[in-house]
């Protein structure tokens, strides 16, 4: 049986070497867990990823939870989840504490002014990518523009939009009316 300390060490490493999260983690996870240690098969890993993508929460954490559960049941699952978030907790807390101290600095403010612009660019690019992959038919356009209208015109919360879209998806043959 795989030791809990070993699970913790591997997933800690995973959290530390993943920049950007989610899909960026897949290749590293594959080399550590599938190729080197043979804890699970590649097919299982891809399965976990696709399910992790459709369950609530962060994909990287979901995939880790699945693998942890497979290895050691509930304790393995909790161990892998705790491990994958440990580096984030430490690093981000350190950065946040430092920022609070130095945010008055003029150069740092200018730098963050520039960085915010790149965040807008990144978000636009993410949506373009998702659009190319995900929007295929009339129904998708309808949901997209319907959700946009609800957000911009009626100031609906993100949670209500997700719930409405999910409900709309269950209406058979819906096409005329928007979620």
């Amino acid at each position: 049986m795989v030791k809990l300390t070993e699970i913790y060490a591997i997933f800690c490493k995973m959290g530390l070497f993943t920049f950007g999260g989610g899909y960026a983690m897949l290749p590293i996870l594959k080399s550590e867990v599938v190729d080197k240690r043979k804890w699970i098969s590649e097919e299982e890993l891809l399965n976990y990823y696709s399910i992790g993508q459709c369950t609530p929460g962060i994909i990287a954490v979901n995939a880790s939870s699945f693998i942890g559960y497979k290895l050691r049941g509930i304790s393995g699952m909790l161990c892998a989840t705790a491990a994958v978030i440990t580096p984030s907790l430490i690093i981000i807390m350190a950065i946040a504490a430092m920022l609070q101290k130095y945010m008055g600095n003029q150069y740092l403010q200018w730098a963050f002014g520039g960085i915010r612009v790149s965040v807008v660019a990144l978000i636009i690019c993410t949506v373009i990518d998702l659009w190319r992959k995900g929007v295929k038919n009339k129904r998708d356009y309808l949901v997209f523009f319907g959700a946009s209208a609800l957000l911009w015109l009626f100031n609906l919360s993100a949670i209500s939009v997700v719930v409405l879209a999910a409900a709309g998806a269950l209406i058979p043959n819906f096409g005329g009316k928007k979620s």
């Binding site: 959290g15 993943t18 993508q53 954490v61 984030s88 946040a96 915010r116 959700a147 997700v162």
Partner: protein, 172 residues
């Protein structure tokens, strides 16, 4: 009291943010409007920091938001609350794994919400734009970055460094 609210709100985000990463952003914007725990500008900084540090973005965002709101304990609480729904749900579906993935209704809902999630992310981008695209300089920088990203987008970190330098040079 703040701790209970923090745990409750991040648990909710963990439960409803399906798809990972940037999907948590619109939910965090709702939080900033509702509680004023952090401003929209701070959230934009948070996104940039999360993108350029190791670890899953959603976790980084929760840690940062929790820290800004209630210090170290807030960090821990927000992050644990964010992952709690996922752990519970995964434990449940681990028992019915195949049925879940192949269920026709589950499939329908998952593909059905995708366009709505795109709208959510775009809306979050709009909120970030309102606080970051404020004059000709920032608009030009945005156009330049978008153009560059169409040709090269392997490493996001590079763009964050470039835009930080541009920010100092242009005094944004």
């Amino acid at each position: 009291m703040i701790y209970v609210l923090l745990a409750y709100e991040f648990f909710k985000i963990g439960l409803f943010a399906v798809g990972g990463g940037l999907v948590t952003v619109p939910f965090l914007f709702d939080l900033s409007e509702q509680y004023h725990w952090f401003s929209a500008a701070e959230l934009a900084d948070m996104i940039a920091i999360s993108q350029s540090t190791p670890g899953p973005i959603g976790i980084n965002m929760a840690t940062y938001a929790g820290f800004k709101t209630a210090g170290v304990f807030g960090s821990l609480l927000a992050t644990l609350s964010l992952v709690a729904p996922a752990v519970i749900v995964i434990y449940l579906i681990e028992k019915i794994l195949d049925k879940w993935a192949n269920n026709i209704y589950v499939q329908k809902v998952l593909t059905g919400i995708r366009p709505a999630v795109m709208a959510l992310i775009l809306f979050a981008g709009w909120d970030v734009a309102k606080v970051s695209i404020v004059d000709i300089k920032t608009a030009c920088l945005l156009a330049a970055l978008l153009l560059a990203m169409q040709f090269y987008r392997k490493n996001v970190f590079i763009y964050i460094i470039i835009s930080a330098i541009a920010g100092v040079v242009l005094q944004i």
